[in-house]
């Protein structure tokens, strides 16, 4: 299986370790992974800000880069949702592009969902000593039907105990540009999320989206919380041996 890895712009810029974790997991599952060098971003900032033209041009660029692969996988429910749910809509008015966008969309998957539902991976070869809680990012949950898959894989990690938090399906307040345009509301939402994390008694927070992770980690750190934050792929790939998100080398 030839998989094109859509790295996502936040993983690329902020957390390369997530990209390497995704590659490791995909290879472990027997896939051949390619990383098209010309990729940038999925176009959500334009799409969600009403700039349809630019969003459409970026969509076409991504489709052209990735349509040669059997599958396109992203370590993000939000970007996968953009590629799978919204690209066809962006290309709907142009008959030729519509067909391409739909064929492309049918091959797009979020990482954990691809590993379990497509490849049939049941367990990973990793260990992590800790009580983890998992935040369901909105697009993973509601656009990509990802809920059970990451939990199932986490269940196979040695030493890891999963401790669900309250309101795990409620938005953390990131929302792309929302968090900078409406910071007060955003902070209120992420404070509620941080409180739920703390109340769960977990020592580690995991999620499948860098946006949520940067947001929640940023709030937890501001509160002085000792909860460690990782992308779920880092734990599944056994690569959570680096400082967590928002942690320094000296922490």
């Amino acid at each position: 299986m030839r998989v094109g890895l859509f790295v996502t712009c936040l993983v690329d810029a902020f957390r390369p370790n997530v990209g390497f974790s995704a590659v490791a997991l995909l290879e472990q599952a027997g896939c051949t992974v390619a990383v098209p060098a010309g990729q940038t971003c999925c176009g959500q900032p334009a799409y969600n800000s009403g700039d349809r033209e630019d969003a459409r041009r970026i969509a076409r660029q991504v489709i052209e880069l990735f349509e040669e692969f059997d599958y396109v996988v992203a370590p993000s429910g939000s970007c996968a949702g953009m590629l799978k749910r919204h690209y066809p809509e962006l290309c709907a008015h142009d008959p030729a592009w519509r067909v391409r966008a739909e064929r492309f969309a049918s091959r797009v998957h979020e990482l954990s969902e691809f590993l379990t539902d497509v490849v049939g991976l049941r367990e990973v070869d990793a260990s992590y000593a800790g009580r983890c809680t998992y935040h369901d990012s909105c697009s993973s949950l509601r656009e990509m039907d990802v809920r059970a898959q990451p939990r199932a894989l986490l269940g196979s990690v040695q030493g890891l105990e999963l401790q669900e938090m309250a309101d795990t399906e409620v938005c953390c307040g990131f929302g792309g540009t929302f968090c900078v345009k409406y910071p007060e509301i955003s902070v209120r939402m992420v404070s509620d999320k941080a409180a739920a994390v703390t109340a769960s008694g977990a020592d580690t927070l995991l999620a499948g989206d860098m946006g949520c992770l940067l947001n929640i980690a940023g709030r937890l750190k501001r509160e002085g919380s000792a909860v460690r934050v990782y992308h779920v792929a880092e734990v599944l790939a056994g690569r959570a041996d680096v400082p967590g998100i928002g942690e320094g080398d000296d922490a």
Binding site: D12, V23, T40, A46, D54, G175, V180, K181
Partner: protein, 473 residues
């Protein structure tokens, strides 16, 4: 329509700092959200019902003229009258004329969002007619001189202590001396006073949850029975309803009522469901002598013909979207600045009062999708919010600085070589600035982010640069 330009950000900020409001809002989760969840748990066929409801509304909206005309004929056949109002001013005029014909001095009112939309209370007062709200929540906010903050629980933003204080202040004139302790005591106190008002009223104005074309009936649901008393005791009953409330048959209403009650409060059915058809007949024991329906367009026919937004007219005003909206839960209904709050308000308000007037509303959402997930009418609320954003972008309502930043980013995103050069340089710089802390406590240009949360620092090298260098897991 005269609506003040909502100062959304300022109002939201005030709401976030209002401790009493924040306390009041916490009840949504344990109340509405939890009750709906339980109600759906025991109704596996909810999805089937939901599809049926959507089909009914879609069919009706596609044939709106037909069903409205049928409705009018049936109302006339049962001895009532239909009045068509193009906009809010016309609707107010019609109601005032009908009140004048009835020689009204006091009007009892059931809860009606369209009444809020056309600001009927202010118009009545200006004409020297006293409107008396009979829904407990509406009555409370009338005492407080406020507007509803939720479409099914208008006084949701008030704490019990605030409500008790309101009664103490306003009901002293009716002899209330001791403090009210419990909810039943509050309800009872309001009931005592309202009882007399019902009998004084010359006209009763209710909204309508549905209008039935087949029978010419108006359907009103309440949990307090106040709709019945408002509609049947005075000599004149005026139903105020917007065009999209019409449905073809009684059967259709059954489907929609089941969806409405479960989505709104988690009840299987609302406590009181009344069907009003025409004035009292000779052998009726009660009922008004005159039955009027004011059909208000106020922008509906434009929305119905707008292929981008017509789906919003399926809304049955259950409030589930706002109950589940994390933004509504954070700031409450008044911050939205007009009649309809929450996700439905963010979609509807710009359509009714203008994109520019309500520019913030469609933007102040993370598009988390919970509203669409719970909407019994499957209205694609996040998609409609995006459509508003597209309009704002096309009409250049987006602030120039934001537009410029967006364009610059989009330019880069379409030029991978430049994009990678700048992210690589940017991330390396950020890493250097963060030194070994791993995060920023404060960062120029990121003040919104770092005011109350840290910004995690990047690891340093970008993934694509490392990959190109040949690094592998």
């Amino acid at each position: 329509m005269s609506a003040p330009r909502p100062q959304f950000k300022a109002q939201a900020g005030r709401a976030l700092r209002d401790a009493q409001l924040q306390h009041a809002l916490t009840h949504i989760r344990s109340g509405f959200v939890e009750n709906r969840r339980k109600a759906l748990e025991v109704l596996p066929e909810f999805e089937v019902l939901r599809r049926a409801g959507k089909a009914i509304k879609d069919h009706t909206l596609a044939n709106l003229d037909l069903y409205l005309e049928r409705f009018e004929r049936e109302v006339q056949a049962s001895g009532g009258q239909v009045h068509w109002a193009g906009d809010a001013a016309e609707a107010r005029e019609i109601v005032l004329r009908l009140c004048a014909e009835a020689g009204a001095r006091t009007v009892t009112k059931g809860k009606s969002m369209i009444g809020e939309e056309i600001a009927i209370n202010a118009a009545l007062e200006a004409a020297g007619i006293e409107p008396v709200e009979t829904d407990l929540g509406e009555y409370i906010i009338q005492l407080a001189g406020e507007t509803p903050s939720h479409i099914i629980a208008p006084a949701l933003h008030k704490t019990r202590a605030q409500i008790v204080a309101l009664f103490r202040k306003h009901h002293a004139q009716y002899g209330l001396s001791q403090a009210l302790e419990s909810v039943p005591e509050i309800v009872d106190e309001a009931r005592q006073v309202l009882r007399d008002r019902y009998f004084q009223a010359d006209v009763g104005i209710t909204g309508a949850n549905f209008l039935i074309a087949e029978t010419g009936s108006a359907v009103v649901v309440t949990n307090e029975g106040n709709g019945d008393l408002t509609a049947t005791l005075p000599k004149t009953h005026i139903v105020l309803a917007s065009l999209e409330k019409v449905v073809p048959t009684r059967e259709d209403v059954n489907v929609l009522l089941r969806l409405l009650a479960r989505s709104a409060t988690g009840q299987a059915f609302t406590a009181y469901t009344s069907f009003f058809t025409g004035p009292r007949r000779t052998d009726d024991l009660d009922g008004p002598d005159r039955f009027h329906v004011v059909l208000v367009d106020n922008g509906r026919s434009v929305i119905a013909g707008d292929s981008d937004f017509h789906e919003v007219l399926r809304c049955i005003r259950c409030g589930a979207c706002m109950n589940h909206c994390p933004v509504y839960n954070a700031i409450g209904g008044h911050a939205y600045g007009w009649v309809y709050p929450g996700p439905i308000g963010a979609v509807l308000t710009p359509l009714l009062i203008g994109e520019e007037q309500a520019a913030d509303l469609p933007n102040a959402s993370t598009l988390c999708g919970r509203c669409e997930a719970v909407c019994p009418m499957s209205i694609p609320l996040p998609g409609l919010l995006r459509k508003h954003r597209e309009r704002q972008y096309a009409e250049r309502i987006v602030p120039p600085r934001q537009r410029l930043a967006l364009r610059a980013w989009a330019w880069l995103a379409q030029r991978p070589a430049f994009y990678h050069l700048s992210t690589r340089a940017g991330m390396r710089l950020l890493r250097l600035l963060a030194r070994r802390h791993g995060r920023f406590h404060r960062l120029p240009l990121a003040g919104g982010w770092t005011a109350n949360r840290d910004l995690p620092a990047p690891q340093g090298e970008t993934f694509l640069a490392a990959w190109k260098r040949g690094e592998r897991p």
